[in-house]
Each structure stands twice: as C-alpha cells, then as structure tokens.
C-alpha cells in the first residue's frame, strides 16, 4: 500500500489541479508541463539511467509531432484509417520507436563523447532537412492541424482545453508509471550497470551495445509519445521542435532537476517550464538565467534539485526532528543567496534594457520599483545588494554545511524510528 501511495496521490493531484487553477493560461501551462514531464523522463532514461548524453533527442519528439499532425490531417481527408485522438499518442510513440531503432542502431555503438557527437550530428541533420523537404515539414512555418476529428467515448471531442488536459494527464501518469516500472526490471538494472561499467557488463554475458540500443529505442518511444501530445496540444509543429534548442532545453530540465533520482526530471520539467512561460513575458534575459542556473548546478550541486532533497533523506528517515537544527542556518544561507541573486538580476535587467536599442518600453520596472538604468542610484543599490549578498553567502555557507554534517552524523548514531 505504501508503494502505491505516491501514484494515487499523483493521480488525485492531476485530477484536482484544473479545479484549482482553471484559467486558460493555467490549463495550457499544465498540459505543456505534463507532456514535458514525459519527454524529460524519457530523456533521463538515456542520461541518468543509461549514461548517454544526447544533444539530439528532440529529433524523436519532433518527428513524432510532424507525423501526428500529418496523420490527423489525413484522417480529416479520409485517406487513412480512423484512430481516435485518445490513442494518437501511441502512434507518435511508434514513430519515435521506429526512428529510435533506426538511428539508435548506428549511434549507440559507443557511449560517452562519441555518442554525444553522433546525436548532435543527427540533430543538426534532421533540423536542416526540415528546412529542405518543404512538402513534408513546410520549412520555418511548420504544419498545423485541427485536433477535433470526431466524437469519441462519452462525447469527448478534444475541442475544449480541459479535455486535452485530461488526455495529457492520463498519458503522463501512464508513461511515468511505465518508465518507473522499467527502472525496476532487470533491463533497468543492467542499463544502470552499462552506465557505470560497460566492461564488467560484457563479462557477465551481456552486450552493452545492445542494452544501450534497447534503452535508446525505448526512450525514443516515450519521447515520441510526448511529441504527439505536444502536437495535439498546440495543433502545430515546426522545426523548433526537432532542433538542438529543444534538445538543449530538455537536457537543462533533466540536469537541473537531477539525473540521479527518478523524480528529478519531473521537478526540472515543472520548474523550468513554469519559469519559462511566466518569465519570458517579463524579462529578456530568461535564457541567460537558464544558462547560469545550469552552469551553477554543474559546478556546485551536480545532483540537481532532487539531489539536494535526497541528501536529507537519511536524516528524516531516522527522525524528522533531526531536521530542526538545520532550519536556522539554512534560512540564513538561503536569505543571503536570494539577496545576491536579486541584486545580480537587477544589474542584468538594467544592462539588457540599455543594450536593446529596439526596445519600445520607455521605463524599466524592477521588483515593482521604477529604476532608471541611465542614472547612478539603481546601479549603486543593486551592486551593493549583490556584493553584500555574495559576502553573506560565503559567510553563511560553512555553518549550513556543518549543520548538515552534524545532522547526518546524529542520524547515523540514532536507531531508526
């Protein structure tokens, strides 16, 4: 029962969410996050569980999207057998699987940097082809469709966004469960082993190349499902969806979320897409913040956000009250960090404002205060906050670290319970 609890809880949350946030923006946002979770989890089958760094996984996401849109249009023109929209994602998954098997065969012969290079090569190749083969991909405009192709069970037409949300939520839950169960199979375990030590895997009688190929194909299958869901949700697909930018985005999501734990990609996809969709309207510097965040994760906490949580697992497993002494040093450190980040953001925003010569806005508002980037005062204030925050970070970090060390040492000496 304890094992089932997170899944039942997750299902209840997915069902309840649209009743809490019912605006159109929130619905589209949640739908998009749902399919990106599938994509991110699929990507982590490669990066986290199989040890394969891909710079071109959007290929399977995007090609499945193109196929889905064409298929929906063909259904409309009655040229292909009818498939209900509910099951269309499965078709997208099969498209992903097909290309995954095909391209995976040549690219998974080697792991590591070679694999990363080949994936980049295929990513660039497919992106370039979408601009050449206009009849299929329609160049930079992309192709579109109408997802309402007929009435399905219980009168669902997938016209209203709420119905699409539940479609995506259902597929998201199903795929998450499937991918989680996959990690528990012997295949999942041997895939971890191939990541850690391919030579030993060969010695116990497996072909590490075959395992990588299988992992790659399955990952492409789930990426294809996500791509089809994207196509149904947006009703449009363009070359951006197969491009290296999209591949980079999913890499950022997975890595910032944390590759070592199963929930990492879920956290990463939710957080990053939420930030992206809310911040792109507010700031021009979103990609810069994303890049800095990514670099910071690599340098300072390679376990990602999920890694920060699992760091404390051995402590609360023993007793939750052991976390109490962490509260004050953590709060101090976090406050210092937030202050310095806010100061830096203020500086960056003013720099951006000054450099964008085409900007139509005449005044810059940072944190609700009108700041004139051409006068000295805001520069001094933000620099002061950033520098003081930076010093405070350096000063509060050791006590936060030692608090964690003490807590983990205590947890080891106490019995469980």
């Amino acid at each position: 029962m304890g094992r089932l609890a997170p899944w039942i809880g997750g299902a209840i949350v997915l069902i309840a969410l649209p009743h809490v946030f019912s605006s159109g923006f929130a619905l589209t946002l949640m739908s998009q996050i749902g399919l990106l979770i599938v994509f991110a989890l699929a990507y982590n089958m490669l990066l986290g569980q199989g040890g394969m760094l891909s710079f071109g996984h959007a290929v399977y996401f995007g090609l499945a999207g193109y196929f889905t849109i064409h298929y929906l249009n063909f259904i409309y023109e009655e040229e292909v057998p009818y498939i209900p929209v509910t099951l269309i994602p499965l078709l997208g998954g099969l498209v992903g699987l097909f290309f995954g098997i095909l391209i995976g065969y040549v690219s998974t012969r080697r792991a590591g940097t070679t694999f990363a290079m080949i994936s980049l090569g295929f990513g660039e190749m497919v992106t370039a082809l979408t601009l050449v083969l206009v009849a299929i991909f329609n160049g930079e405009d992309g192709i579109q469709t109408d997802r309402v192709i007929g009435e399905e069970l219980f009168g669902v037409t997938y016209g209203p966004n709420i119905e699409v949300y539940y479609l995506i939520a259902g597929w998201c839950l199903l795929c998450t469960l499937a991918m989680f169960l996959l990690t528990r199979t012997p295949f999942g375990r041997i895939s971890n082993a191939v990541r850690d030590n391919p030579e030993r895997v060969e010695f116990i009688g497996y072909s590490s190349q075959r395992i990588r190929w299988l992992a790659f194909s399955l990952s492409s299958f789930f990426a294809g499902i996500a791509g089809a869901l994207h196509a149904v949700n947006i009703e449009h697909v363009g070359f951006e969806q197969v491009s290296v930018l999209q591949s980079g985005l999913v890499l950022f999501m997975v890595y910032i979320g944390g590759t070592a734990s199963f929930v990492g990609p879920i956290i990463g996809a939710t957080l990053l897409y939420f930030l992206q969709s809310t911040l792109t309207g507010v700031t021009e510097a979103w990609v810069l913040y994303l890049g800095v965040m990514f670099v910071a994760v690599i340098m300072f906490f390679p376990g990602g956000l999920a890694g920060l949580i699992t760091m404390h697992q051995p402590i609360w497993r023993v007793h939750a009250r052991l976390l109490a002494p962490l509260l004050i040093p953590y709060t101090r450190f976090f406050a210092a960090l937030v202050a310095s980040v806010l100061g830096c953001i203020g500086l960056i925003e003013m720099l951006y404002f000054r450099s964008s010569r085409l900007s139509t806005e005449t005044e810059l508002v940072i944190y609700g205060i009108e700041s004139d980037p051409f006068s000295a005062v805001p520069w001094i204030v933000f620099t002061g906050i950033a520098v003081a925050g930076g010093f405070a970070v350096r000063k509060t970090l050791p006590s936060a670290v030692s608090a964690w060390n003490t807590a983990i040492a205590d947890a080891r000496t106490l019995p469980r319970g």
Partner: protein, 315 residues
C-alpha cells in the same frame, strides 16, 4: 575552369578559417579530454571584441589585442569554471562548456544587442587585389588566407621546434607521465585552453567582418568545428587541417555548383514525382544539402572509422 578556381579559393579560405578554430579545439580535446562546446563562442567573442576595439582604435590593434583578451577569458573560465568540474568526469565537463556557450551568447546579446553589429572590413583592404578571368579576388580575403596560413606555420613550428611545444605534445599523448616529470599539468591545461581560445579569437577577428558579427554566429559554426576535429582525428593538427579544407571546399563547391537531384533522376530515365509528399527529394539541390554535408560526413566517419582520418585513438 575559372569559376572552379574561384570556388576553390573560397573553399580553401573557409577551410583555413575552420582550421584556426579546429586547431585550438583539437589541442584542448586531445590534452584534456574536454570537447569544448563553447569554442565557437570564443570565436564570436573575438569578432565582437575586434569590433569594439576597431571602433575605438583601428583594425590592426584589434588583430593583436582582441585574441589576447579572448585567451585571457578562456584561461579564466578554465581556471575557475572547468577545473572544479574536472572531478565529475568528461560528461560533466562537456555539459559545463555547453552551458558556457549559452551564457556567452546571452552576455553578448546583453552587451551588444540582438541585431548584428556593423563590424566592417578595414577601408584600406576593401578593394580587389586583382581580377583574374572575370573574378575579383579581394585584398581582404587574400589577407585572411595569409594570416591563417601564417598561423598554421607558426603553430606547427611552435609545436615541433620549441620546448613548450615539446611539453604540450607530451601532455597530449600522456599527461600523467608529464606530471610525474614535475610539470604543473593543471597550469599547462589552463594555458593551452587559453591559447586555443585565443586562436579561435583570431579567427573571429579576421572572419567576423566577412561572415557577419551577430549573436547566432557561434551556434552556426560551432558544430561544424566539432565535425572537423572528429573527421581529422583527435589530437592530429595535420588531420584537422585536411578535414577543415575538405569540409570548406566541399560545402563551398556544393553551393557554387547548384546541381539538383532531379537532373540525376532524369538522367537515369526515371520519372519525376512532382506532386506527392516526397516530391522534394527529387528537387533537392546540392546547395540545399550543403549545410547537412558536414554532419553526414561526421556520422559516416564515426560509424566506419571512429579514429578519423589521421587519429591515433578513438573519440
């Protein structure tokens, strides 16, 4: 024939520019095992710095100063960014440079804006050096060729005949052994990284005004430079040169001689599909596939000969 020579000239020029980038990258990669994803970003920084310096002073000052600054930035990033990541392994290092490429692109946009900056060819070199059989060979393009060949020769001499070159070559083939002989390997890494970035900076200074100085220039050229070093073989400067020339010439010829697949299909006596979904396959011209060619070569090379043309070890 005249047009062929002109296309070859442009191909060689483009190839030499690629080589300037690839030489630094292959040195860094073979020595440190780090595939520097941000290498083309340093190329871009070179172009932007050169623009800024030539606004204030002149092109010649930019040619000297900009690469030095780029090299310093590169060494700084190696020292305070890459070195701490080293313990997490090569994949983390690759990811780090991938992130750095994003950050540099955004910083460039933050400082110089999203539109291209007017980094022009210096007035003294804007004319044609000579006109041969109907084609203008501009002074600046010949100058670019001279600079890149000079750097190739200097680099070759440095690596072959000097003590520093000896240590670098030794560190490429066996870093641990060199460390046991008392050389400070992290410091050699740092300066090699900075030096490689400075070479990319030179390419940016001389190439930025021809290719266009804009925030997207790094992302357009970056992956192609990877292709060059993989095809040439890791750690092989000669291989990088040959591969850079091959890719430069092939892509330029493909654009120059715009042959279509359709004519081939007709020559084979087949009928052309003009209406169906696959009609574009018969309409593809070599100019259209030119951007794909390097990646096709990369994939084929990695599948059939992962060591590259002159490489001595696998990627």
């Amino acid at each position: 024939m005249e047009s062929f020579i002109f296309a070859m000239f442009n191909g060689v020029l483009y190839g030499m520019l690629l080589f300037l980038l690839a030489s630094g990258l292959t040195l860094i990669f073979s020595m440190m095992g780090v595939l520097n994803f941000a290498h083309a970003s340093f190329f871009m920084l070179g172009a932007y710095f050169a623009y800024q310096i030539s606004e204030g002073l002149n092109f010649w000052a930019a040619l000297i100063v900009a690469p030095v600054i780029v090299g310093m930035v590169g060494a700084g990033i190696e020292r305070w960014g890459l070195r701490p990541v080293h313990r997490y392994g090569h994949v983390a290092e690759l990811l780090f440079t991938f992130g750095v490429a994003y950050v540099i692109e955004e910083l460039v946009q933050m400082i110089w804006g999203r539109v291209p900056v007017p980094y022009e060819i210096p007035d003294a070199m804007s004319g044609a050096l000579f006109t041969w059989q109907g084609f203008d060979y501009s002074i600046y393009r010949v100058f670019m060729l001279v600079v890149s060949v000079a750097i190739f020769v200097a680099l070759f001499a440095l690596l072959t005949y000097t003590r520093i070159g000896l240590i670098i070559r030794a560190a490429v083939s066996d870093p641990i052994h060199v460390a046991t002989l008392g050389h400070d390997i992290p410091r050699i890494f740092m300066w090699t990284f900075g030096f490689g970035c400075a070479l990319a900076g030179v390419a940016g200074v001389v190439g930025g005004n021809v290719l266009g100085t804009e925030p997207a220039m790094a992302i357009q050229l970056g992956p192609i430079v990877f292709v060059v070093i993989v095809i040439g073989g890791l750690g092989s400067l000669g291989g990088a040169l040959v591969a850079a020339l091959i890719i430069g010439i092939v892509t330029r010829l493909a654009i120059f001689y715009d042959y279509g697949v359709g004519s081939l299909v007709l020559a084979l006596g087949l009928e052309i599909d003009t209406a169906g979904m696959l009609r574009d396959f018969t309409r593809i011209t070599t100019a259209q596939v030119a951007p794909v060619l390097p990646y096709l070569m990369l994939v084929l090379m990695l599948i059939f000969k992962p060591r590259g043309l002159f490489g001595t070890r696998d990627v």
